[in-house]
Symmetry: C2
Amino acid sequence: MVTASICTIGDELLIGQVVDTNSSMIAVQLNKIGVKVNSMVTCGDNSKDMLNYIEQCLKTTDVVLVTGGLGPTKDDITKNILGKLSGSKKDVRNKEQYDIIEKILTARGVQMLEINKLQACVPETCTVIPNKVGTAPIMQFSFPKSKYGRKNLLFSMPGVPFETERALPDIIASIKEHYQLDDIFHKTICTAGIPESALAMKIEKWEDALPENLHLAYLPDPIMGVRLRLSIYGTTQKEGEEELKKYSASLSEILGDAIFSFDDEAPYEVLGKILLKKRATISTAESCTGGFLAHLITSVPGASRYFYGSVISYDNSIKMGILGVGKKILDTYGAVSEQCVREMAEGVKKKLKTSYSIATSGIAGPGGGTKEKPLGTLWIAVSGPNGTVTTTKTFKNTRAVNIKRFASSALDFFRLCMQRELI
Amino acid sequence: MVTASICTIGDELLIGQVVDTNSSMIAVQLNKIGVKVNSMVTCGDNSKDMLNYIEQCLKTTDVVLVTGGLGPTKDDITKNILGKLSGSKKDVRNKEQYDIIEKILTARGVQMLEINKLQACVPETCTVIPNKVGTAPIMQFSFPKSKYGRKNLLFSMPGVPFETERALPDIIASIKEHYQLDDIFHKTICTAGIPESALAMKIEKWEDALPENLHLAYLPDPIMGVRLRLSIYGTTQKEGEEELKKYSASLSEILGDAIFSFDDEAPYEVLGKILLKKRATISTAESCTGGFLAHLITSVPGASRYFYGSVISYDNSIKMGILGVGKKILDTYGAVSEQCVREMAEGVKKKLKTSYSIATSGIAGPGGGTKEKPLGTLWIAVSGPNGTVTTTKTFKNTRAVNIKRFASSALDFFRLCMQRELI
């Protein structure tokens, strides 16, 4: 199996100012094409450490991906180090990147300075992959087996996550060209409502019976649910896809409608699809989720085609005044109750004139809650032309995570009720 | 200067399933006490790589912090490796951790199995720092100078971020005990409304004139603004605090009310403080921010004391029907206009009966916008007993980042108008 290591460079990472998201982004892409990441290293902008770590990566893995340290200022020294490592005698200007730099600076209304021009100059030993969205070029170096004991490929790319992301497809293509990779195909099955450990128990037998060339990964997330990624190695595309389909189908038999997508989609994207298909509209009435549910729905471009709006009724006066929840309901059952979310959902649907609605009320914490309604309690109601359905759940997380899980559960409950034609 | 390295262990990191947030969290804490992080390494759950990397860390830095690989299952091998490294002949049971494990499992209603009991067993060579929030104990190992060329301290802690976070204060205290650290004091000054590069230019002279023992770090974030962290070394606490105060004051003269806090606070925390002090209430009317503004406000525990609610009027029918925006305003100026946000802010304040209100309308993208109202345009209105004030800004980010910046700008505009007594 072809192996890789990822080397991120920058003092801002070492002081904890910036969380390194590049490494996992790169790892996901490498993993997809069947390249195994053996290690990730972060070091500062000093030549001794960089040389040390990069050489170690070259000795232990086939592909080395370096991000960062490519800025125009003198504290960015990656290019020099890589020039030295690869035995470059001089830098040469790359015309394509030079033109891009000129274009970017012109668009910004900034004059091209000497330091900007220098960014287009690279060690003669490298092949340039032009960086279309930034000034620093992506550099590719090859090392023969005689140098570090293996046929190495090293890529150096900018550390700005957006630029790294845009550079990856070209780098992945180049890795595919240079190495004989095992074919690998994936399918992501998105589940909701079952915690990771319970899910693992539920599908244990199915998982144990998977053939050797089929690998399963659990990807849990408070908003996205638990995604199951099935990967198959060593088959043709046609065969691989058929196998993945077969195993997805048998998984579907076990998990039923806990599966909300066989494509890699977020629950709020699925909601959008359902509504667009029905040419229907939706509104939300939120208490404990405080706007986060509406935020998830509106994070999808074009959500305005089906999302009309929301009433966030943090204070009970809003629940009564705008959503029309009865004072008696609040006095008798409280805001965190089936009766209250039901009236919230029906109230917002009527008031905002939408086909469907979702309402949430709960106790996000910290603190609060009683024996009957413990901290982490959530009530959800979903309403549509065929009526209103409610459910309750309890979570045991921090306030921030509870809010995420509350919103995600509400989205999934809506999806379920639509699928089962309950509303 | 005492140096450190951070070693995170886990296959889930190498396949990119999980973003490593532990390293930066640990780095921030070490940095605060004047310990310099030289490198961060991630490797998988295999003994050869782990031994290799941990020994390298011990050779090159004084303190080594290892997270992960401490679970009860057999693929978690950190404890064995560290036992071997430190020359432990046998494992011993730590009573304190054993009792904690028992308590945690009982609370979960789970029976204590042999593998759970084993978690309380640690190499005889280590000192245990009890993990009060999880089953795996924190282990501290000391290595004499004769072993790796320096007086080493190694800490092993669980990889679950919540448990890592809770373990850090004890670890930091132990490091302070074992090493003669330079005294270091910090002050974080929170700014809003000025991009990082413009801010750097604005305070360039001030920054250049800082004495050698004062260090400045820029911490930019779409929601938090640009925080400036001033750190002073080699003084007494009294002297240090006085110096930090002096330089904060001179910075304040340059930046004026672009500074929203001299404590390390988020803009939505500042909003809460302002309102609590005034015993006032607030509501929001959101279009482009789609609930994210309300989400930020309600992410603060106890926000219900001042936040009444929000009307998210994604569709113009809601702007007219609930917020009372005139049809003529929408027809003449459009939803993304000064006139519209003004009516939104006044409408929501009246409807939700709050002392203050904030309204947003803009074009988050992707796509959309005209020459007059380009993609990224935001209109904000804030309203209070003394009237309504509006402003406009333009951002050039992705939809997700635009939404964050929109909400953060609205919070800051409210803070500014309150400070200047404009509303």
